[in-house]
Each structure stands twice: as structure tokens, then as C-alpha cells.
Amino acid sequence: MKRTDTSNPDYFHQVVDCQWGCPAHTDVPEYIRLIAQGRFDDAYMVNRESNVFPGILGRVCDRPCEPACRRGRMDEKPVAICRLKRVAADHRGDITDRLPRAPKEKNGKKVALVGGGPASLTVANDLLPLGYECVIFEAQAVAGGLMRYNIPAFRLPHEVLNEEIDYILDMGAEIHYNHRVESMKALLDEGYDAVFVGSGAPRGKELRLPGRYDTENIHIGIDWLESVAFDHIDAVGKKVLIIGVGNTAMDCCRTSLRLGAENVKVMARKPREFFKASVWELEDAEEENVEIVVNHSPKEFVVENGKLKGMSFELMEYTIENGRIQDQDVTGEVFIACDDVILAIGQENSFPWIERDLGIEFNPWEEPMVDEVTYESTRGGVFFGGDSAFGPKNIIWAVEHAHQAAISIHRHCQGESLQDRLPDLLNLQSRKMGMHEWSYSSTFDPAARRKMMHVPLEQRFEALGKEVELGFDAEQTAKEVERCLNCDIQTVFSDSLCIECDACLDICPTQCLTITSNGDKEDLVTRLKAPVLEHEQPLFVSGELKQTSRVMVKDENFCIHCGLCAERCPTAAWDMQKSLLTFPKAADYVSGPDSGERPCQQRKAG
């Protein structure tokens, strides 16, 4: 195999599984170490740089980082990354003086942002400091978008939401509330230098079955949640059926319990392994005695004299092979009585307000055609991000889309190429302090994942906005931070220094190192000390070693970053170095690529 090019930032980035898994590339191990040192403000700011809403995401993020976490590969649960993010947010002091500020002198460019959700707010966050005027149009009387009206307050308290939204609005964004944009043409005619559409995917999917329109008691999940959030609905029947098992379904069932429902069932068509909802959201719902019923396919709404009596379902049986449904059978039918039905079977974006003759093209599914790098539509100067761009994803994706769109908007306004983008940067710094001393907690702590404490069931339903999760206490935090393996403290190898004494191979607790003769990949993997289990994980292959012309091979999959290889190396051929990865944002394009240190590089690793 060819010598691995570790100067490509992607190599070490991929080793930091959580950061690689996070759409916004949050430097997770770095902020966890900062929390360990009690530096909550710094931890918060590291988060904010990438994900903009640490307090919000520390509660409700989809957490793609956690299934990716290396710790989960050692027969254990991943580090509670999301909970730790909340620790940083909950314990931070006043950080307002560390927030980006908009200059008094504007640059004369004006950008319209449609929708006041996470995507538009992030664009404003990135462009306001550069002197742009950002004008947000929000259909509701408050900002936040789906973060406010699709996520119930018992999961995300309003104070948390307001505070982080205000950080951005207070920078000087102009926001028009109760202002639904009805015509893209009219908006374009107002002469903005760029338009960003971040209005989400606001249409809940329908379930057209007999009886659907014969009663008032069938609701579309996201609309229903919105009505609850704005106090238009404050009660629901005693028996409620939720159709669908995504995260919206989980929010609907738990909200129902808080509006007076006593018996809530979530009806799933398929078995559990096919559920879309995050495992923890399912667990939280079941803890509140929501019943999750599998293999029931909706057949009919049973309505008598305009009154909903219940629903009938077909009982399903599936033949499953290799995690896929091969065949299905209907084995019977049941009727389940209920007072209300809430449909939570997905949502889609819809743009009735965008005229089809503006040069903004749509695909046959009525989705806008959006460039995956620049987020520009087929009409120059019109950008999409968040759920508007590629359909429903989640908040963290919306934030990353918006970071990228902000770069494009800036380039567009400056008359520069959108495709020309700055590369990600990698900076490595040794963490060696002395003989057996590393400036990170290198010892492996076998502790198990800490459990989030919840408000007791009997107190939970007192008020709709009572937050259920209590957050980690000091003891839990102290334990959990030590579970992080510090994957960003990289094992960096200099082949010219190696004397092939095998000390690193022998000390490695996971046998992830091998010195062997080189060969192509299929051949090489047969000679590794431990079998390759994850082919997605990179293999490091050194250059030829001096004494025997063999190569050092490292399977990154099982490295626990304990630093023992470096500690045992007599010639410092192995070293432990922090990989500080920087991902350019709009601000980095201001000074131009050749003018020395970019703003994104100003953060120094702790």
C-alpha cells in the first residue's frame, strides 16, 4: 500500500469519529476536555463556533456523533456527548462579550432570509459580523422555527431557546414577525443582493384512508404540535393513537400525556428495528408509559355520526432477512378505540409561494434543485438551506447547510466564484510534557455511561413546559468526561526515527499496530496482529522503515489513544499530537486566502 498521506486533513479528521460524524464538525473531544477542567465558557464557545446553538442542541440534537463514538466499539455505550454539551451550556457564565459583533459600518449588501429557524439564524450569525444587513421574514410572532413549535417545551425550555436566538438577533438582524412571504417574485423585486430560503419542511404527510375527513379529531402531527406550542390547543381526548414512529411521533405522544390523555398508543407498521425514532426518544416515551404497538398497518378511521370511534388496523407479519423485509402478510384485523388520532408519518417541503417562472427549478417531487456544495438554486443569488433544501433532516444539518450557504452568499455578493472554496486545515501539536507525562488524561477509564436523571413521573405532567431531563450533576459530569478517549490526540508516526524494537506493538492494549512487509491491502490485512473489523476505518501505512524495509501499519479502528505506544517508544517515532481541524466559515473569506491566519484559525487548542 502507498504511504498514508496524513497531511490531508481528512485522515486525522476521520479518526475523530464524533467530529467526523457531526455535520458541523464540532470539536467534541476538545470541549469535553475543557468541561473536565471546569472551563465551561470555553467549552461553550468551541461548540458555538461549529454548531451555533449548544444549549438547544445539548438537549435535542439528533446526535449523529454518538453512534459514531469510538467508545461504542469497545463493547460499551458511547460517551454521552450531547449531555455534556448541555453541561457546557448550563454552566457557562456570561459569554456575551465573546460573541461575534456586527460592525457599525455596513458593507452595503442586503440579504433576505425566509423563515426564522436555525438555518436562517445561522446565516445571519455568519454574515452580520461581516457587515451584511440581514432581514429575516418570520411567519409567526416569535423566532425559532421548528425548534420552537415542533419540539415541545418539556424537552427544550423556552428560556434556553430564546437566549441563543437572541444572541443572533441582538447582533442587529432585522426581523419581521407575522410576515409570511407569499411571493418569491415580489421578494426578489425588492432588490436584495441575495435571498436565502430557510423555511423548513412545514407540510405534514397525509394518510388518506376511509373516514379521514369525516371528523375533527384527526390531526397532522407537526401542525398539532404547533397549535399546542402557541396555546391554540390545550386538551386532547383520553385515548390517543399516534400513527408513525419517528421523533415527531414521540413528541406527539408525550405532549398528549401532558394535555390530559390517559392511554396513548404509538402505532407502528413495522417491527422495532425499522423505527425511525432515536432510541433514547423511544425510551423516554416508554418510561412515560406510552405503549408502542408494532406490526399494525392502518386500514380505516372508524367514524360514527361525525364522532371518531377508533381505527382498524391490519395485523402484519414480515419475513426479514439480513435486516431487510423480504415479504409481508396480512394475518388479521383489529379495531382499536380512541378519541383522537395524530398523524406523524413524515413531512415534506412545499413551496406554493415560489412562482415557477423565476428560473428556480424544481424536480418532479416539487423539491428545489439545490447545489450540494454551494446551496445555490438554479437561479443565481437564491439559496436554500436546512429542511428547505433537501427535505427533513435535523437542526445540526440545517446549521451546517447555513454555514456553507453563508459562504456562498458572501462570495456571490463579492462577485467571486462560489465553487472556489477554502480547504479545511489541520494543525498538529505535541501533547508530551515529560517522561511519562501527557497533557491530556490518557488513562483508560472503564466507567460505564452515566444515566440522565429525569423528573419523577408524578411531577412530570404538572405543566407542559416542565423540563424532564435534569442535566448531569457534578459527579456524573466528572465521570462522563473521563470516558472520552481523546481521539483527537492523534498517534503521529515518523518512520525515519523507528528502530523496529517492537516496543509499541507489544504495549498496545488493543493490538492495533503491526510491523510487516508491505503489500496490497487484501494481502496486508491478513498479516495484521488483530483482524480488521471495520473496513470504513482508515489503515495507516508508514513509509519503508530503515532497518528492514518493512512498514508500520496501524488499524485506527481500535486505537484508544492511550499514548502507550508513544510512551514506550525509545526514539519518539510515535508522538501524541492534538489535531486541531479548522473548517472555514464566511468570515474566513473576507481577508482572502493569502493574508496569513484566518479567523477560523484563531482558536487555540486548550
Binding site: R73, M74, D502, A530, T548, F558, C569
Partner: protein, 350 residues
């Protein structure tokens, strides 16, 4: 500061015939210098003992004094052990194995421990053919006392400071062969592929198996001018005969016999397969072996592999016609029949 090597449950971890993982054959974390060849040999011992499925409580590890002599602490936690005085490991080993012939004995020594202060003991344990692995971790210096030349340092090689060694060296393998050893091998800490099978063959051999393993001292003897450095050893090493141990249960594949291969059957039913890398070499004939070693020594080459084997030398227990039952298993009354029995015995001698 790192205090321990963490135990991590990895998926797909293999176990041996008695259900133990490789890591169950480890000992305490080494306190030797990082990169010391001795640590590599420790790892090879762990590998060999694991592959042979030796029960930890069946093993006794013994040593004298030196960095090398510290290493028994670093493998097989659950084994017996005795760290004796400088150069006296052979006496302790002889006693231990006389008392319990069922033990698997491993003595780890250094070039200083065996070829200087313990030279006499070294000769006699070979003569008695005590059933053990006698492993010399040979670095050409007294590592523990900060790098003085040892008796195995080659004449003309230099110390770290540049001082030239004037004295002739004692060649451990040639000495052992001439003293009538029944099994003699040489290897290099940096050649695990050769070392592990050699250790296995040595342990299986029913007599005193001497292994001289070049083991660079990174701190005091890994410089230019040293003839025991990693680089020098790699450059001058010559493989003469390789050995593989085939357990009695394993079938012997035809492919093993490819080339110049000779099986040596052991009493326990296992087989040591000798594979001649150099067809001129005959490890079953003493004069051939010694002549070959001398020819290559004069060219500056380090001959490695299984250098001499003789299955017909009787071991200590056969020489003394001791009972088949380990003494430690015997009832006290049988072991020590009392003064009456002694008088009876003496009567017959008058």
C-alpha cells in the same frame, strides 16, 4: 503518568485450548527502558506460552540479577517465580525442578548473569541437563549497572563513550554445545517470527534448552560501534536452521516437509521440525555445528536458529533415577521415612 495497561474487551478476541486470552499470559507493566530488547523477548514468551496453552500454575519463572533478570515479573502473572541472587538462578532452578518434575521451568538470565558471575553455574545446569528453558537475554553489557562491557561483548566493539573492548568474548552457544548441551539455539529479540517457534521447541525439549537471544540495550549499547545493536544484528544475522514445534495432536502436513526438513520426535509425542535454511548445516552433529559457527563468526556473521539438538542425552531425573512422582506430591512419610529407615539403609552399607 500511566500506571497500567488497560484491559479492553475487544470483539473477536481469540482464546487458546484452555480458554485463556493472550492477555492472560501477561505480567506487570515493564519498568525497563522503553525499546529494550528484553521487553520484546517477554512478548515472545507470552505468545509462545499462550500458543502452547500452558497452565499458568504449571509454570515456574526463575532469574538472577540484571535488567534481564527482572523480566519474569512481566509475563504470566499466575505462575510461580523466584528471583535469586546474581548468577545463581541455575541452582534454584535445579532445586525447584528436582522437587517438582512436573513444572515447566523457565530461567531468564543475562549475559552478565550467566557468562560472568554465574559462569560456573551455567556449565553445571547444562551438564545435569535440567529440564528447563534457559534463556539468556544477551546485550553485550551489564545494563542494570549502567552499561559496562560484559563477557559477551565482542573484542573491538566500542562502548557508548567510544572505549574499545580489548577482551575476547565468551560465546554462549559455542560454550553450551561444547559442554554437552542437548538443545542450543540463538535468535534476536527483533525477529519474533523466528523466536516464538524456537521458544516453543525449547520448552517442549525434555532437557536443558539454552537460548541465546541477542537483545539490544537501547540505553547503553545501541550505537554505532556496538555489535549488539538493532541495526548491527539485523545486518549480520544469518538464519541457518529454523524450528517449528508440532503438538502431538496436530497433523503434520506434507507441506512442512518441503525443502530440507527433518522431524525430531520428542518423548511426549510432539515433533520439532528442523528446516535447514543452509543445507551445509547439520544441527545434530556437534563438530559440524561448532565448525560452522566458527567459520561464520570469523566473517562477522551471527548464526541464528536451532543450532544443536540431541534427544538422547538423559536429563537430571533419569541420571539420578528419581521417582516418576514429583517429590512435592509424595506423602511426608514416604518422602521422609524416619531415622529407623535410615539406620536400616546404613546397615546395608557397612
Amino acid at each position: 503518568m500511566t500506571f497500567a495497561r488497560p484491559k479492553i474487551n475487544l470483539p473477536g478476541q481469540k482464546v487458546n485450548e484452555i480458554g485463556l486470552a493472550l492477555r492472560d499470559y501477561e505480567g506487570s507493566l515493564s519498568t525497563l527502558c522503553a525499546g529494550c530488547g528484553h521487553d520484546s523477548i517477554t512478548a515472545a514468551l507470552v505468545q509462545a506460552l499462550w500458543e502452547m496453552s500452558i497452565r499458568p500454575e504449571q509454570l515456574i519463572k526463575m532469574s538472577g540479577i540484571g535488567c534481564s533478570s527482572k523480566t519474569p515479573a512481566y509475563f504470566v502473572h499466575g505462575a510461580h517465580g523466584f528471583n535469586s541472587v546474581h548468577g545463581r538462578m541455575p541452582s534454584v532452578a535445579t532445586g525447584a525442578l528436582a522437587g517438582n518434575r512436573d513444572l515447566v521451568g523457565i530461567g531468564v538470565s543475562g549475559d552478565g548473569d550467566s557468562l560472568s558471575i554465574g559462569f560456573g553455574q551455567f556449565g553445571h545446569v547444562i551438564r545435569r541437563n535440567v529440564n528447563m528453558l534457559y534463556l539468556i537475554e544477551n546485550n553485550g553489557v551489564y545494563g542494570l549497572t549502567k552499561g559496562q562491557f560484559s563477557a559477551s561483548a565482542d573484542a573491538g566493539s566500542t562502548s557508548k563513550k567510544g572505549e574499545v573492548n580489548q577482551m575476547q568474548n565468551i560465546n554462549a552457544v559455542a560454550t553450551a554445545i561444547s559442554m554437552g548441551a542437548s538443545f542450543v539455539g540463538r535468535s534476536f529479540s527483533g525477529d519474533r517470527e523466528q523466536l516464538v517457534p524456537l521458544i516453543k521447541a525449547a520448552i517442549a525439549h525434555p532437557g536443558c534448552a539454552v537460548l541465546d537471544v541477542v537483545s539490544p540495550c537501547v540505553t547503553f549499547n545501541d550505537h554505532e560501534g556496538s555489535t549488539k545493536s538493532y541495526a548491527y544484528t539485523r545486518d549480520h544475522k544469518l538464519r541457518a536452521v529454523e524450528a517449528d514445534l508440532i503438538s502431538p495432536r496436530a497433523e503434520i502436513k506434507a507441506s512442512y516437509y518441503a525443502g530440507d526438513t527433518h522431524p525430531v520426535r520428542l518423548h511426549d509425542g510432539s515433533t520439532i521440525l528442523l528446516r535447514k535454511v543452509d543445507p551445509d548445516y547439520d544441527p545434530t552433529r556437534r563438530n559440524n555445528a561448532l565448525g560452522y559457527l566458527e567459520r561464520h563468526r570469523s566473517r562477522g556473521e551471527i548464526v541464528t536458529g536451532l543450532l544443536y539438538i540431541d534427544q538422547n542425552v538423559t536429563d537430571m531425573h533419569s541420571q539420578s533415577r528419581t521417582t516418576a512422582m514429583p517429590l512435592k506430591a509424595m506423602d511426608y512419610e514416604r518422602l521422609n521415612p524416619g531415622s529407623e529407615a535410615l539406620r536400616e539403609l546404613q546397615k546395608g552399607m557397612k
